[in-house]
Symmetry: C3
Subunit: 363 residues, 3 copies
């Protein structure tokens, strides 16, 4: 399989509070004392599917799970869980706290596959701000840095959803507007600059269009920094209609709960692809239902697999384990009902889990 | 079980037209002659689940059901249906035509449980208008009345969804703006004043935040007074981010068809809870599908049960009966598939049906 | 059955490229070489359900299907597929490339049923523009033409969703505004005028309200000309509330992925009806899931069947075949679970597939 959007695994062991926080996509900060992050579909899935790989019975209690995990140590947890994912290509977005995580190369090595780099556009812009780039130099400097940074990358990624929302006028911004926006941002940026300006976000995306690599868009749910009602993939419709964008693969990530809408875009626009990564992990026992909904309008050549795992190696493994089981259950139901042939089912599962990604990313 | 949002049952018997109207959430006015309110998921559920409690066979025809109900009389219908719900705490919103319904105490007595009061914010404001409060006195008078009226209440409720929509700037309004809005409203208000002004709606909500009781928000579908596209719970995101609001439980009611979005908010914000009340009754045979969707992102400590029943005692009983069956079917499926342990399933059902509400409302 | 919204079948055989394009609702232009339009739920459904009617095994490969179809010729394909739909009333929207398709009469003849005409409002307006109508004459000329063109029609249809979006102020426009908008449009209109002006779209709809025939609204997904986030049926709420509109049946077509929202409107407004046409064909093996979702809030007297087929006779047949199977599977599940009686299930299927349409359209 190809995991076409993922992050690194923890390089060192988290404490329990940190581990439980990593099972929650949404909130910032510690889990309140009156609840447990294990009491969720994701938590139940960890206890069901990961526990046996740590020599525990299925559904081992949360405390037992944590103790066993801590006793084994992060290296051993990684050694057991990552190869079990059965993924041989990991496309790693290094743009979020990447220094605390395994690098793409280290992840690939630990998992028995290849690690590839996905470059986050907004992180590049923040590098320029931190380096003291002038507003006049910014537009060209971003373009140059993008080319430089993506020399060995297989894709770029944008988190516009978190920063400006997706409800933008997506036309390419004028050079003068980019300079003016850069001037405002660079003047205000502190030691840890955070790009939220919509003009600069658009500049980044249009430079990426020109660069020509597949562009991954965060869409749908994520942590609470975003406004979920402003990150439907449908808000990209105006961008997708632009002739220059027709030539570049646009990868809609996550999409939940707008995965049907994403399937529509994947049918309507030849360059658009989508997945239900992140969601499959977080909905756990409901993964088959979400996968089935993602297989309605989207042509089968336009669906991919990703985990969006970040941190605990459980997430890298679970994404693949839950997706395989969910997709298998869904297509088996269609074969059993006579709707699909068994040969078609095998072919489509292979397209989504592997072949589409190999083709789009040129792996 | 705890029914954490409900209204009273009819104090006296309705005629048939009135009864059928009460099976429709949406329209105002009589059911057209070319259709029957019984020909709906809710109507079929009444004939399936309530008929046997009235000594009729399952699926008894609508006419037979009505005749039997009328023959028994409202007191007997109540005596058979309310205790059968198996609910021992009823949290009763008295703010909508409460004088035609059983009081919280009477409902609890008839059902063999305890009735608790939920105070509707907009109804308080309308009391002030009817009492001739001046605009200058309004801001403080509302706050005082809220404290007074909630002395024995377990929660407050807002129907902002019906009045102003939820697509507001949810910041606390300035005092001067509240006075100006009150002046406009009080000058225009007739003998039955109806609060729709967004500034006054916000004032009510922020006074409630200060008061500190759990705040119930109508979100999602309801009768046709509301614009469904303006009542998604996601429109509360800006409110939920405010530090003062982090300290107060926010209870998202109904949510359908935005219950996945509500589940996201329940995961993203520690103080947010949600249910699929009202929907469970109205979708009838589809209750398991809706319940399953509500159990995707929401942590299990954040889901609750409610019926939102109003009027016919059938609705008070059905809410509990359908929820129990739907939730049982959903978690049994996960246990049978090996995804959940049976012990976890029992524990989670108890959390959602009872324990979460006991904790949040301090019952 | 009554197919209450459909287009003609191809009058002459398409080539393969054209045939595959017709299996894609979304894009304009040829299918890219790295994918096949057969690799979709619709393509799999064609191979599953239509192949046996062309003497091929179920799931026949795409190439074999195409070769057999081409060898039989369009007349024979039509002769095998159209009567197999089991539809005896076809309500045909002739407004989109109708000259390349069978007329309503020819479609009915080929299928062994009756063809009826549905008049597309925007196409009428474009006729006036092409005929050189003056701006001053336009408002009245449109009204006159509408009456003339609908003398034998059973309904009108609007594609406002494609032209202006549904996010309009839906109040009746002033005469002066209509004339001014007409002046702008007529001055700019080329030899193939396309109506997109929102004022003229509204004028068309309100003339139709006055005319009094059922009005079909395209809502939800369609080809990529539309912005899916601007075509939710909920955006019609303001129109539906107008007293004049309460007297006219409003038929919400397609609705996917907003079919739950459409069901809400069908419950909230007595004059509103909905279907999941087009979607049922495109989601193929998922048809039962979509049909089940459409049967939640909508009263059973308010649901209808349509295929929205256009071009290949496969689509006219599949719509009916998939709907019958999906609806049968859904209601059988409820009967088996004891939720519905078998007699109710038969009655409701007949209402949706036939009786509701006969009543609304006066057939």
């Amino acid at each position: 399989m190809v995991d076409h959007h993922v992050h690194g695994a923890f390089a060192t062991a988290p404490d329990r509070a940190r581990f439980e926080e990593s099972l929650r996509e949404g909130p910032h900060g510690p889990v309140p004392p009156w609840m447990s992050a294990f009491d969720s579909q994701l938590g139940f899935a960890v206890r069901r599917w990961c526990a046996p790989l740590l020599d525990l019975p299925e559904h081992a209690p949360a405390d037992a799970y944590w103790e066993r995990r801590a006793a084994l140590g992060e290296a051993e947890v990684i050694a057991r869980l990552l190869p079990a994912a059965g993924v041989d290509h990991w496309l790693v977005d290094t743009g979020y706290q990447g220094d605390r995580l395994l690098s793409p190369e280290a992840l690939g090595r630990a998992a028995g596959g290849a690690g590839h780099t996905v470059v986050r556009l907004e992180a590049l812009a923040e590098t320029l701000a931190a380096a003291g780039t002038s507003a006049a130099a910014y537009p060209g400097a971003f373009r140059d840095l993008l080319h430089e940074a993506t020399r060995d990358a297989v894709a770029v990624k944008t988190v516009a959803a978190y920063r400006s929302g997706l409800d933008l006028d997506w036309s390419p911004p004028d050079l003068a507007d980019v300079e003016a926006a850069a001037a405002r941002w660079l003047a205000a940026a502190g030691p840890q600059p955070r790009l939220t300006d919509p003009v600069l976000v658009r500049h980044g995306v249009h430079c990426a269009v020109e660069r020509g690599l597949p562009i991954q868009f965060h869409t749908g749910f994520g942590d609470r920094d975003l406004d979920l009602h402003r990150v439907s993939p449908l808000l990209l419709t105006g961008l997708l209609r632009q002739p220059a964008v027709a030539a570049v693969p646009v990868m809609l990530l996550h999409c939940y709960p707008f995965h049907r809408e994403a399937g529509y875009l994947a049918q309507a626009f030849d360059q658009v692809y989508c997945d239900v990564g992140l969601a499959v992990n977080h909905v756990g026992a409901r993964a088959a239902a979400v996968v089935a909904e993602s297989m309605e309008l989207a042509p089968f050549a336009k669906l991919l697999y990703s985990s969006d795992a970040w941190g605990p190696a459980e997430l890298h493994f679970l994404g693949a384990a839950l997706w395989r089981r969910a997709t298998g259950e869904v297509v088996r139901g269609w074969v059993d009902a006579g709707d699909w042939s068994a040969a078609d089912a095998r072919r489509v599962v292979r397209m989504i889990g592997r072949d589409n990604a190999l083709r789009v990313y040129g792996l």
